[in-house]
Symmetry: C2
Subunit: 447 residues, 2 copies
């Protein structure tokens, strides 16, 4: 089948979504509230999600591998979370003052991740990373922040740099250049060149902030020694090492990527999974560092690092969803993590074999429960964001559309997929057989 | 009664909160996730909120005038919202893709506020204002942002300037000075001095961003002509006029403060009320301006203003709560707004009289449903943030504590109070009689 055939099939079954998109495009720029949520010809509109399934307004059902920006490790509306939420929403959604559930969630996080000696809850990942680098600047008195090329830490002004290809070009109007002058970018997985860059900026370097596995940039795990090398440089030069675990925390392992890769970050950020499907961001770190933000010990604003929380910080709905999720993870971690990692590996191996047998140059990247395919024109590997950005994205969009249109499987086009606890081996088998079917249909033979 | 007596009374009835605070202080810097939520000797811990009441872990009940940072215009967990939420949480909390409820909420906002030709949903007010000024810089190609002294637009790096007294002092370590160099501050309600400042920076001025009523800085309504004067300057100089209606939108009137004061902002921000008690921020404006962020029309990043939405943007839980709230406001606006404004006025007049009769110098500020008392040492008025900051905050803290400890009424100490639809005339009478009682107890006679 040609891409056009898949597109037509998609359009035929999504008439109500098409009409909703046309209304949306009159309200929201591009019809969406998050740039990555648009895809051609228009996204389908969901009105219900349960377990592994998304259901759209036309009644189509999709097995979901996007899973709420990878946040829903237990699937959509798991009973343990939704029952707790159904009680909580009748009991207050925004107390506006401190509450007991936030204490319990904080303590639950500490048990999984003892390096979270102290933390602050906020409402989004963008806020968490913004506050983490602010704390690093406050601690060190230095200004420069090093991040990875393609590294994604949200839409905050400071870290909205070298996010989209071509990376050497500014990220568009509205971002004042003077605000970007203190951000330097490193080539992920290239320790030698990264250390070279770091060496040139170390005198004014406050921190290195990095995702242990590049997520938004294309599902790229670290090569052995890379993150450790950055951390070593940081420790040696009194630079703070910040691990952005918004995606990997509670996904790669219950103790985060830090435990998987043997890292000891000074600060780290959490989000997604630990909010149980409700808005959350968390900055975590040592008592010494986090205390810089303590308004009780430091009533004088000149002595205090001004980090936020915000109106919705630690709200009881998020706290309740997060606590229910972490409680479930604690009780079932022995079955959850081996299962999702095994299914992730099954997907990676199976997809690699299908494309390799069909002689379609494709790299499958990922680790544990996350994976992504990259169509390449030769036999080169995918080691960093540039490799991903210069791969054949058009083919990837077509593959993801074919899965949606013909097989009822959803990957946000071009984005990493994630296995959640509600996926079964049979789902991965279906994904592989759908992929085989798409290969056989001749989609990838198109020029 | 002396302040110490009230404090002792508070401590006697909040033993469980004291123990929870001690656990909190081991987890969160200062024991809280939002600086303003701490107060002496420790805040009480809420575990349930319904209607006008907060209930703490010790079983104390407080009539709430803080109302979730002023967001809960229908009180805590109103049935129309909590019923809709109880259904939604079993039906998905984070689809991760577009949904039909966001279209309905967007259209509902447009009906109240037609100047919201287009909008983008995000998850917090801090994000909304950050994106608004980014859009202004993108549109104008200029860099400077003018804000009010004491103006509060969230904890984003750009606008975290001149927020806390003394305003001429930097807002603490971690904020890089180069990032603050493009923010200039205006004295609220002083048009002459404001225009003078604006005149000096107009060549590089992108926008003026302002709360129509200073909220966090102390509940200060605009004097006649002030906002209009700023708007006029903006229009004349091709500078964007941004109204931050996160607090005032759907509070001062169903159509916002813009309609009350006859303003026509180029961009405006919403939050709080329109999320129905769940996390939200919204940037609204003309099609022309908002289209700068359109990723479909502007696939090239150099042509597009990169504003976020985030993982949790337009999530179906927030959208559902917001839509239920706005539907209720639409049907009942004829009773809601006159009622809360009348009760607000009753509180302002009653409090003024009590303090005046007792010869305690106190200014009561506010408008419509919001109000705040300011203890002053003379007969000067409260017209800007400096006036508030230099008033007797200690007395205000003591007054608010006395209301909490003895009378079961909650104002977040030193912060503006808000009347919601669930408050009755009898509540305001109780507030006045409690205040009379506190005056009579001799609290304010202390030196």
């Amino acid at each position: 089948m040609k891409y056009d055939d898949y597109l037509k099939k998609y359009e035929r079954k999504t008439g109500k979504s098409r009409r909703l998109y046309s209304r949306s495009a009159d309200i929201f720029p591009g019809g969406i509230s998050h740039n990555i949520r648009y895809f051609e010809p228009y996204p389908f509109y969901v009105n219900s999600a349960k377990g592994k399934y998304l259901r759209d307004v036309d009644g189509n059902r999709y097995t979901d591998y996007w899973m709420g920006h990878w946040a829903l490790i237990l699937g959509h509306s798991p009973a343990v979370v939704s029952s707790a939420l159904a009680r909580q929403v009748r009991n207050g959604t925004l107390y506006g003052v401190v509450n007991d559930v936030s204490v319990k969630l904080g303590e639950a996080i500490q048990k999984f991740m003892p390096r979270a000696e102290m933390m602050r809850f906020c409402s989004t990942g963008s806020e968490a990373t913004m506050y983490a680098v602010r704390l690093a600047r406050a601690k060190t008195g230095r200004r420069v922040i090093a991040k990875a090329i393609g590294g994604w830490h949200g839409f905050n002004t400071t870290l909205m740099q070298t996010v989209n290809y071509p990376y050497e070009v500014e990220e568009g109007p509205g971002l004042v250049q003077d605000e970007g002058q203190y951000v330097e970018s490193l080539q992920f997985n290239d320790l030698e060149s990264s250390l070279k860059v770091l060496e040139t900026i170390k005198d004014d370097l406050a921190c290195i902030i990095i995702e242990p596995v590049l997520g938004g940039a294309g599902c790229i795990p670290p090569v052995a020694g890379y993150l450790q090398g950055l951390q070593e440089f940081a420790k040696k030069n009194d630079v703070l090492f910040i691990l952005d675990e918004i995606v990997t925390g509670f996904r790669l392992s219950p103790n985060g990527a830090a435990s998987v890769y043997g890292l000891e970050p000074d600060l780290f950020t959490l989000g997604k999974i630990c909010g149980g499907g409700l808005p959350i961001g968390v900055v975590c770190g040592s008592k010494e560092l986090m205390s810089l933000a303590d308004p009780v010990q430091r009533p004088d604003k000149e002595a205090r690092c001004a980090i936020g929380g915000g109106t919705f910080s630690a709200n009881p709905v998020t706290m309740t969803a997060g606590l229910a999720t972490l409680d479930f993870l604690k009780k079932n971690k022995g079955s959850i993590y081996p299962k999702i990692s095994r299914l992730g590996e099954m997907a990676r191996n199976g997809l690699s074999k299908i494309f390799s047998d069909a002689k379609i140059p494709c790299r499958v990247t990922g680790t544990h429960s996350v994976f992504l395919t990259h169509f390449v024109s030769d036999d080169r590997s995918i080691a960093n964001a540039t490799d991903v950005a210069t791969s054949d994205k058009k083919k990837l969009i077509q593959y993801h559309m074919a899965l949606m249109a013909e097989h009822g499987m959803f990957f946000l086009p071009t984005k990493m997929g994630a296995v959640s606890y509600v996926h079964e081996e049979s789902d991965i088998k279906k994904l592989l057989s759908a992929t085989q079917d798409i290969v056989d249909s001749g989609l990838f033979k198109q020029t």
